[in-house]
Symmetry: C2
Subunit: 360 residues, 2 copies
């Protein structure tokens, strides 16, 4: 078979050019006579790769100099634990905004470590809308406010950065980083698991305001301490070098696409096409309030759940894969990250129209 | 240029067949129409890969049923912190045997978390010998005894498993796992960073006796808790799927080589050739006590350190790379893990003899 359009929520599709380069360099990379996978992270060649990738992240996102850029392990879920360990003193309360399963999980890992306050929770509307900033009950003296700007399961996205005054804002951007331009200076910390918009699973990109690095309690071991990791330029221990390499290729690809302003245009167009196909169909339905619909993850249901397996099987036949929705929501979900070509969305929209005519 | 013989201590050389398969499947894996890197860890296809790789680990090492096999993130260094968090109660002492830089680092990450006792330390002989088991001063009531069976920097290896009675023995086998048959039942826990004998950096294999899984203190967040990770079959969060895939290919390769008994023969022969070339040369010198010389990492010095850059440059020209010794030891180091072909050791031995004739 040949390549399909892969709508997986993560690990997710990657740019074909990136995979082709990785394939071509698999046995011999960069004049080293070895795969990048086999080369020491302390070598000159890998050091250059690491420097270039950090420079590309800084260029793409306009990261100010007073922020550290870290390449970490353990996934975003490990950050859910490291954030309270590092950014809050032992007795300091921490604030969480819950708009879906990921922000809820973030709060879950922090419990037991710090006093967690849920300052807003969209459970009442089944995570189909975002609680207005005016209704958040922030805790005086909180170490930070954590939120998830894009919830992959519910398909809910913040299209503005909420204002938390002088309290550092911490954002799990696993599923929408690099999808549009960003004002990094609005955040205390941004982090993202790689497996949606960056590269392979097992790598985390973290961008931390430097004055926050030193907040960690004494009991935090060095390997879980941002300051120690930053001090060693993300090489306190052997980093996930191959994932880092693929991420670097993705950053170069993003630059070739024209950077984040251009990527954002394409993403907006892709999402608009798909939501229009849903809303105008009289067949499909997306439950999310229009003002906070995600540009990355588009869940939709069919008029009758009994049609779900038929839709999935026919879609697979048409070369459209991994469209099954999360079990907590049901129906379908199309994840249309940066690397999903517009042609993939067009093919999905066409298929949906055809399916609706035949089964709607 | 073409492939060189890569003597890097880690990330280290991988079997050519593994890299060729990875290259050939990079864009389309296993009938999925996508790279394995792009496929959900919850998919049927990846689930089968995960099951097969666990089965292969169990077969290769003869892992008893009362041990969990975990595929984790964060490197062995993160295990240095997770072990005391998981295997010792808050006030329980933990014992460490220090035979080199890695066992010393393991103790270092544990400090601040638990009361660490160094029960033996080979610093007195500059880590060129292993303190006799009879001289270890084990702590009554210790939660475990930790050691590193092979120290990559000093090139010191335990050739017998030390007896610690009923106190669980915990071993950092990052650099010698799968290099010979092993009696897993002698251990409370075995763990290994992948980047030497398993696959790419960013993956850790851990084998934990199941009765130890539940020892973790309440304050340990789920993502750092072995019981929670085992409960979710190493998928509490997205695992490093691509590294896991490569590890699976390496396990299959090990089986094709005839398993660990056969691998051990080859490793023993490779190491014997290299030590003989050093000892008989009248030029090169390995400082380690013969009874505990490593079969994986062979450090050696030249008669005059001023020759080091000449040796390295000429070796590189001869297709023998990454031979520079660790800065703390100086000289050279040849890491000859499973994937280093015997022909690579032969080529190194020939080069050393030639170099010695010309410069010795």
């Amino acid at each position: 078979m040949s390549r399909i359009f892969n709508f997986s929520a993560g690990p997710a599709t990657l740019p074909r050019e990136v995979l082709e380069q990785a394939r071509d360099e698999m046995l011999e990379w960069h004049g080293q006579g070895a795969s990048v996978m086999e080369v020491s992270h302390r070598s000159k060649a890998f050091g250059e790769l690491a420097e270039q990738s950090e420079a590309d992240v800084r260029e793409l996102l306009g990261v100010p100099d007073d922020y550290a850029v870290l390449f970490l392990q353990g996934g975003a879920t490990q950050q859910f634990a490291m954030i309270p360990m590092n950014l809050a003193a032992a007795e300091q309360p921490v604030d969480y905004v819950v708009t879906g399963q990921w922000s809820k999980k973030a709060a879950g890992q922090a419990k037991g470590l710090r006093k967690v306050n849920i300052v807003a929770d969209a459970a009442g509307n089944n995570y189909t809308d975002i609680p207005a900033r005016a209704d958040w009950r922030l805790t005086p003296g909180a170490a930070y406010v954590h939120y998830c700007p894009n919830e992959t399961i519910g398909g809910v996205e913040f299209h503005e950065v909420p204002d938390t005054g002088t309290v550092p804002l911490v954002a799990d951007m696993s599923s929408n980083i690099f999808s549009r331009p960003l004002d990094v200076s609005r955040f205390g910390m941004i982090y993202a698991g790689a497996q949606k918009n960056i590269g392979p699973a097992g790598l985390v990109l973290a961008i931390v305001r430097k004055d926050l690095l030193e907040r960690a309690a004494d009991a935090v071991p060095p390997i879980l301490r941002y300051a120690a990791l930053a001090e060693q330029k993300s090489m306190l221990n052997t980093p996930p070098t191959y994932s880092w390499y693929i991420a670097g290729l993705v950053f170069q690809w993003l630059k070739r696409q024209g950077g984040l302003a251009r990527i954002a245009e394409v993403n907006q167009r892709k999402a608009a096409k798909l939501y229009r196909a849903i809303d105008d169909s009289g067949c499909y339905r997306n439950p999310v309030a229009p003002a906070c619909r995600s540009r990355m993850n588009v869940p939709f249901t069919l008029p009758d759940a009994a049609l779900d397996p038929v839709f999935l099987a026919e879609a697979q036949q048409a070369g459209l894969a991994a469209l099954k929705g999360h079990r907590s929501v049901g129906g379908m979900r199309a994840s249309i990250y940066n690397a999903m070509p517009e042609a993939g969305v067009d093919a999905l929209v066409d298929f949906m129209a055809d399916f609706s005519r035949r089964h709607g």
